[in-house]
């Protein structure tokens, strides 16, 4: 069973639909026990990182999430679900985040339309199991105004240009996070989830 973390925001249904399409059972849940038992966990996201952190805190999910990732259990963060993994964000006057990926979340530079909304290319910096069967430079669907910048640049296995070069796919062991929405990115998005889940089932580390 795959746990999709419900913290009262986000289009969780699309993620669940993507799992169903790939033949996986999933459950939308905010219960720590269920999340801890899951074979893989997805943290979806739309909205603001500060609100997301507040919700996770109220639900008592901060520690369980940190623990899962510390144990290198399969975990996939999407959009704001990527941003909250960082040390902190500039958004909303500044908020502390989960501190799992050392680095900051910054506002996209001025000079272009914000939010960065639409399909953009992901350049694969390294060969990685999540990219299997996905061509280098394939397009994925983005909608965001902030982006994460890891201190350790090697964690950004995929990059995207939008006035700045951002890490659009972050990976460390069984932790994967994307700034784009795989569940809204057509066949390649589904493929990426499938790769992650297969990788998770095999229990291999990257």
């Amino acid at each position: 069973m795959i746990a999709i973390i419900d913290y009262g925001a986000g289009n969780l249904r699309s993620v669940a639909n993507a799992m169903a399409k790939l033949g996986h059972q999933s459950r939308i849940t905010s219960r720590a026990e269920e999340i801890q038992k899951a074979q893989a966990v997805i943290l979806p996201g739309v909205g603001a990182a500060g609100d997301t952190m507040d919700s996770l805190r109220k639900l008592g999910l901060i520690e369980p999430i940190k623990q899962l990732i510390a144990e290198d259990r399969p975990f996939f963060g999407v959009c704001v679900g990527l941003q909250v993994l960082f040390t902190g964000t500039e958004e909303g006057g500044g908020h502390d985040c989960l501190g799992i990926i050392p680095g900051r979340v910054k506002k996209l530079p001025a000079g272009r339309k914000v939010p960065h909304m639409g399909w953009n290319q992901v350049r694969q910096r390294v060969s990685h199991p999540v990219f299997e069967g996905i061509p280098d430079g394939a397009n994925f669907y983005f909608v965001h105004s902030y982006y994460g910048e890891p201190d350790d640049k090697s964690l950004a296995i995929g990059e995207t240009e939008y006035g700045v070069t951002m890490g659009s796919v972050i990976a460390r062991g069984n932790l994967v996070a994307t700034q784009f929405h795989p569940e809204k990115s057509g066949d390649y998005g589904l493929k990426m989830y499938q790769n992650f889940l297969r990788h998770a089932r095999n229990g291999k580390n990257a």
């Binding site: 699309s14 169903a20 909205g47 909304m117 639409g118 399909w119 809204k184 057509g186």
Partner: protein
């Protein structure tokens, strides 16, 4: 590079697509689920559903339709038409819509934009503006119309677009009433005026007849996306053909699969 989006728009009444039933390849082109799946496979970048049901029952049907579409179509879905409250919005988002589009209700109650953005995030809130040209020349002006383009409001379209964005709109869906349905091209001047004045993406709508029209809206009109109904529904041009045409002319377009 961020690509320009090609967006088919489906008018839905009581759960049925009301335009464009001339697809020979579909069993039932009036079924929004089947038509959506077809456009998805063809490479549409997003889909917009405009509900023109006259009754609440008709709208309930749309919720069910959106649920079924989101089970098999993995691109962004926008739903508009008759949404008046944040509860209406929530219903559509819960059904699987990624964005909701508001038009008349936003003009009547601008606070709805702020409330929607606060509850669901700006990226969910599309403000649709139907604009009619009231002055030509260097001081060109457009007036906002509501109630499906029937009711003049006296509000300047440029002012309203900026106001909507200031209140939290994440995107503007801009339709030229003058151009809509004529298949003689988008109102390029309107599109450029609004697109240059706001910080959020603008979808050009109304008037697409030839592929060149889409090109002009994206280049001369500086639109971030183009919406079209008839040219796709009546099979005048397919989505792959449209994308190939635009890509050849140097527009950044998503072509894959």
């Amino acid at each position: 590079m961020l690509t320009k989006r090609i967006i088919p728009c489906l008018d839905v009444k009581d759960g049925r697509v009301v335009k464009g039933t001339s697809f020979v390849r579909l069993r039932d082109a009036g079924d929004p689920v089947e038509l959506s799946a077809f456009y998805y496979e063809q490479g549409a970048d997003e889909l917009v559903f405009l509900d023109i049901s006259a009754t609440p029952e008709g709208r309930d049907t749309l919720v069910d339709v959106v649920e079924r579409i989101s089970e098999q179509v993995f691109i962004p879905l926008t739903v508009g038409g008759g949404l008046r409250t944040t509860d209406d919005m929530r219903r559509m988002l819960k059904a699987g819509a990624d964005k909701v589009s508001i038009n008349t209700a936003a003009v009547l109650t601008p606070e709805l934009i702020r409330e929607g953005a606060a509850k669901f995030g700006s990226q969910c809130i599309v403000v649709a503006i139907d604009a009619k040209r009231v002055e030509n020349g260097p001081r060109a002006k457009w007036e906002v119309y509501t109630h499906s383009g029937q009711q003049p409001t006296g509000i300047d379209a440029l002012f309203w677009a900026q106001q909507a964005v200031a209140m939290g709109a994440g995107e503007i869906l801009l339709t030229s009433i003058d151009a809509d349905g004529h298949r003689a091209g988008y109102d390029i001047e309107l599109t450029r005026t609004i697109s240059e004045a706001v910080t959020v993406p603008v979808i050009a709508s109304g008037g697409a007849g030839a592929l060149e029209d889409l090109y002009q809206a994206l280049v001369a009109g500086r639109a971030d996306a183009v919406l079209a109904a008839s040219i796709f529904h009546y099979g005048m041009h397919s989505i792959p053909e449209t994308k190939e045409y635009l890509a050849k002319k140097g527009i950044a377009i998503r072509i894959e699969g």
